[in-house]
């Protein structure tokens, strides 16, 4: 099982801030997982389809779409950051 977290407008579009899921083993990269999640609902699709405006972290580290997910426990999707 993997914990999926959503932040900022990604969270608002998905409609939930977290979910626990068992992604299929065929999802080996972060990009593949995002594609799979986008199929879960219209809300997921709206939040996750514009990859250019989406960022992610694997186990609390910023990650690119080709990052391998092997062993990942917590994956987060969010907009480009705007702190400071």
């Amino acid at each position: 099982m993997v914990t999926i977290l959503y932040f900022a407008w990604v969270r608002e579009l998905v409609g939930i801030d977290a979910e626990r899921l068992e992604p299929p083993a065929t999802n080996t990269t972060l990009g593949e997982l995002a594609d799979w999640l986008a199929e879960r609902s219209e809300h997921h699709r709206a939040a996750l389809s514009d990859r250019g405006n989406l960022r992610a972290a694997v186990d609390q580290r910023f990650a690119s779409w080709d990052t391998a997910l092997a062993g990942a426990k917590e994956i987060a999707f969010f907009p480009p950051v705007t702190g400071g």
Binding site: F7, A57, Q60, F78, P80, T82, G83, G84
Partner: protein, 146 residues
């Protein structure tokens, strides 16, 4: 000495830099970012990624300590709702030489803009919108790339 704080409460500059000033370095540079009252802003709200935020801020302060000769570095970042004029963030560095303290302070605030999981939303009357990331922040962070 690295100090990281992520908190909803306002912070005092004197209190936040006191531990840095006690290190005997002679030079303390600090940067404070405040909520601007742009276009009738009523409230700015900072959302963050608990756990990852602290790790990211610590990583930024540690990298600053690697790149410059510092005695200490402190980052304080508020989360939650804030009013125009309130402080959002403090990045401060203590060194024996002022050039190190100033450069490290500039580095930390530049990196913080792109490398820490915070998201700002703005409220004006009944309207709320998410702040878009700025390319100028990406460019500012990249100038520190080795």
């Amino acid at each position: 000495m690295i100090t990281i704080a992520v908190q909803p409460e306002p912070f005092s500059l004197d209190a936040a830099v006191a531990p840095l000033e006690a290190l005997g370095g002679g030079a303390v540079a600090s940067f404070v970012g405040l909520v601007r009252a742009d276009d009738g802003l009523d409230e700015l709200t900072l959302e963050h990624y608990p756990g990852m935020t602290e790790t990211a801020l610590r990583g930024i302060a540690e990298e600053a300590s690697t790149r410059w000769s510092l005695l200490g570095a402190t980052i304080v970042h508020r989360v939650g709702p804030m009013r125009p004029g309130e402080r959002i963030v403090l990045a401060a560095a203590c060194a024996s030489h002022r050039a190190d303290a100033l450069a490290a302070c500039a580095f930390m605030i530049d990196r913080l803009k792109t490398d820490a999981p915070f998201w700002k939303s703005e409220t004006r009357g009944s309207r709320r919108n998410w702040v878009a990331a700025r390319e100028s922040d990406e460019a500012a962070a990249k100038r520190w790339s080795l």
